[in-house]
């Protein structure tokens, strides 16, 4: 970690504000390792986030960082990327940030297939505001605003973004930290909109109310309740029921938005209509 830590973190900003055992820190170090593997130029890389515990990530990493408003990170990022396509753009969001208040921006970023890599930290809850339910809180789980258990159905984030047009979709967890790095690397290499769902633990606002007090317990739960897509393909449906599918779920090619726009400019300037 040492070298990567020195290079990609704003070490004078640490320790971070996250609670003991919060998964956000693990996802952020997986991200830093991915940056190292990709060899990105930090000056030419922009990291955008919304509002929430997870979105505080931008404070701690040494890039051009933009901490925006709740739910709107992708809309800001779209402006950055379209205005200056040569910049690498990564976006950190929480599950509520990206699928509730920011749901509209999420599906449209997918639809445009704009070359941005979104890392969505899914801790199943609104962490920052103290544990209200999000569109990714599993049915039946408890939240301060679902004291009797969540009765709404939750989104499957990866299916949602795949349906909306994202061209790279992967799901990892904080337990599978190494794979998470690989997914971020692959997502960044995809020329188009990539979503990496990082299933994470929030011991304070989620675990505490759902019979999992310790971060360790939560991270071990992630180990035991996930199954890789490749392994799942060989199993019977009843064997994978209730398990979280992880791995690269979808990867395809489609025209990328900023490249299309550049073509449009060339066409217009070339005298076309």
């Amino acid at each position: 970690m040492d070298r990567i830590y020195e290079k990609y973190f704003r070490t004078d900003r640490l320790p971070h504000i996250w609670c003991p055992g919060c998964g956000n820190g693990i996802v952020l170090s997986a991200f830093a390792r991915a940056m190292e593997e990709l060899g990105v130029d930090q000056d030419q890389t922009v990291v955008v986030s919304g509002i929430g515990c997870s979105s505080r990530a931008t404070t701690y990493v040494d890039f051009n960082t933009l901490h925006t408003t709740h739910g709107r990170a992708l809309a800001f990022a779209t402006g950055v990327k379209l205005a200056e396509p040569r910049l690498n753009v990564f976006v950190f969001m929480g599950d509520g940030d990206s699928t509730a208040i920011g749901g509209n921006h999420l599906i449209h970023a997918c639809r445009r297939n704009i070359d941005i890599t979104a890392i969505i930290i899914n801790n199943n809850i609104y962490g920052m505001t103290g544990g209200q339910y999000s569109p990714l809180t599993p049915t039946g789980k408890k939240a301060t605003t679902a004291p009797y258990g969540m009765i709404e159905r939750n989104f499957d984030l990866c299916e949602l973004v795949k349906g909306a047009g994202a061209t790279f979709v992967a799901r990892g967890t904080t337990y599978h930290a190494k794979q998470l790095t690989d997914m971020i690397v692959a997502g960044a290499k995809n020329k188009g909109f990539s979503v990496i769902e990082a299933v994470s633990q929030c011991p304070v606002s989620f675990g505490r109310r759902n019979k999992m007090r310790s971060p360790l317990e939560m991270i071990q739960w992630l180990k035991e309740n996930t199954i890789n897509v490749k392994a799942a393909a060989k199993l019977k449906p009843e064997d994978i029921k209730g398990k979280i599918l992880i791995g690269e779920l979808y990867n395809t090619e489609a025209p990328e938005y900023t490249a299309e726009y550049d073509r449009l400019i060339a066409r217009v300037q070339g005298g076309g209509k």
């Binding site: 040494d62 779209t78 402006g79 509209n104 921006h105």
Partner: protein
């Protein structure tokens, strides 16, 4: 657009869009809404020709956000909307205020509240322009009253945004947005264009939000080697979030004062016969056209009337109106709302003279006759 020499017949909305491009605007993000849509349409057509980018976002919130994002790469960026869309933009407009990101927001005012009167004129967003977003914040809002001014104020809006590192609002109304007048491009060919400053120190010494002596920060465009943090949280000189009372106080005061303390440079107005006027008619935007006509007719009848038109609605030309208030019997304020700018005039006048409104909220333009009646009623 019919072409004759260097003169074109243009709508206010079209002139505003062309003025923006003239100012160097190379990015537009917005969402269609009457009566501002033509601005988006012109930008969609014209921007690619000059290598700029247009994007129709999924809503106005996103339009504001993408505009800010684009500005951070160093591009001049515009968004345009009307009433309901202006409401949606407020949160991110406040973001641009606190993060000090230059951009221009056009609000072509229509009747409200809510969906209100989508195709009719109104000037009822004057106070929203000042207080629409939460928190204390700087506001610059310009109000064009002709096609030529729609063009020149678009340039001025970008100049002020770039100079003071803050969003600038163009408060048009439907009257001006859809009015057609010839614009002689020869008359507007020598406009000054201001670009934001670039840091002249090395990245290791750079503090994005230092503000320097003038209290105006220098934000290096993304991708130019200065890596720093931008947030909507209160922040210190380096841009990092802070709750330290002294730093918070300093930041809050600086972002407001950088506009307040430069009023002399920012404030613009038009005035006629204010020296010997007994009654002053003060109006802006579309209503000012009727007001001007009323002044002409009243003068023909021998009335001593003066005319004053704030071009910057915010900051309001406080000093100038205050001076006039010392001398006149009354100030008459025609506007297409229930007296929003009248309230500001009353504040400035502070009882030194009477302030009378001519107010209309039926979706119709105020007529010169309606203004004349009020002026003649002043005893």
């Amino acid at each position: 657009m019919t072409k004759k020499k260097n003169i074109e017949l243009l709508q206010g909305n079209e002139a505003c869009a062309l003025g923006a491009i003239r100012a160097g605007c190379r990015f537009f993000a917005g969402y269609p809404i009457t009566p501002s849509t033509e601005i988006a349409e012109v930008m969609a057509k014209e921007l690619p020709k000059v290598g700029g980018k247009f994007i129709q976002m999924e809503d106005e919130i996103a339009g504001m956000a993408a505009t800010i994002g684009a500005s951070l790469t160093g591009k001049k960026a515009l968004t345009a909307t009307s009433g309901p869309g202006f409401s949606l933009k407020q949160e991110n407009l406040g973001y641009a205020c606190i993060a000090e990101i230059p951009c221009v927001v056009v609000n072509v005012m229509r009747g409200g509240p809510s969906t209100g009167l989508p195709t009719s004129p109104s000037q009822s967003d004057v106070m929203q322009a000042k207080w629409g977003t939460h928190g204390d914040h700087p506001v610059i809002a310009l109000s064009p009253s002709s096609i030529k001014e729609s063009y020149t104020l678009a340039v001025k809006a970008f100049n002020l945004a770039e100079k003071y590192m803050t969003p600038v609002i163009i408060l048009m109304d439907e009257v001006i947005g859809h009015l057609r007048e010839p614009l002689d491009f020869d008359e507007v060919k020598d406009l000054e264009i201001i670009d934001r400053k670039k840091p002249d120190i090395t990245p290791d010494k750079y503090q994005a939000y230092h503000g320097g002596e003038e209290g105006i920060p220098i934000l290096a465009p993304f991708g130019t080697g200065y890596r720093y943090h931008i947030t909507g949280l209160t922040h210190d000189e380096s841009g990092y979030p802070t709750m330290a009372p002294k730093v918070v106080e300093r930041m809050n005061r600086r972002i407001v004062n950088k506009v307040e303390e430069h009023k002399e440079d920012i404030v613009e107005f038009e005035s006629q016969n204010t020296e010997d006027a007994e009654i002053l008619i003060l109006s802006y935007g579309g209503s000012a056209r009727s007001a001007k006509e009323a002044v002409l007719r009243l003068k023909a009848e021998g009335y001593q009337v003066g005319f004053f038109r704030p071009i910057t609605i915010w900051p309001f030309p406080e000093k100038e109106v205050g001076k006039i208030a010392e001398k006149v019997k009354a100030i008459v304020v025609p506007e297409m709302n229930m007296g929003q700018l009248k309230q500001e005039v009353e504040r400035v006048v502070a009882g030194r003279t009477k302030v009378l409104g001519v107010n209309k909220v039926d979706g119709e333009l105020i007529t010169p006759a309606e203004i004349i009646t009020v002026v003649k009623g002043v005893e």
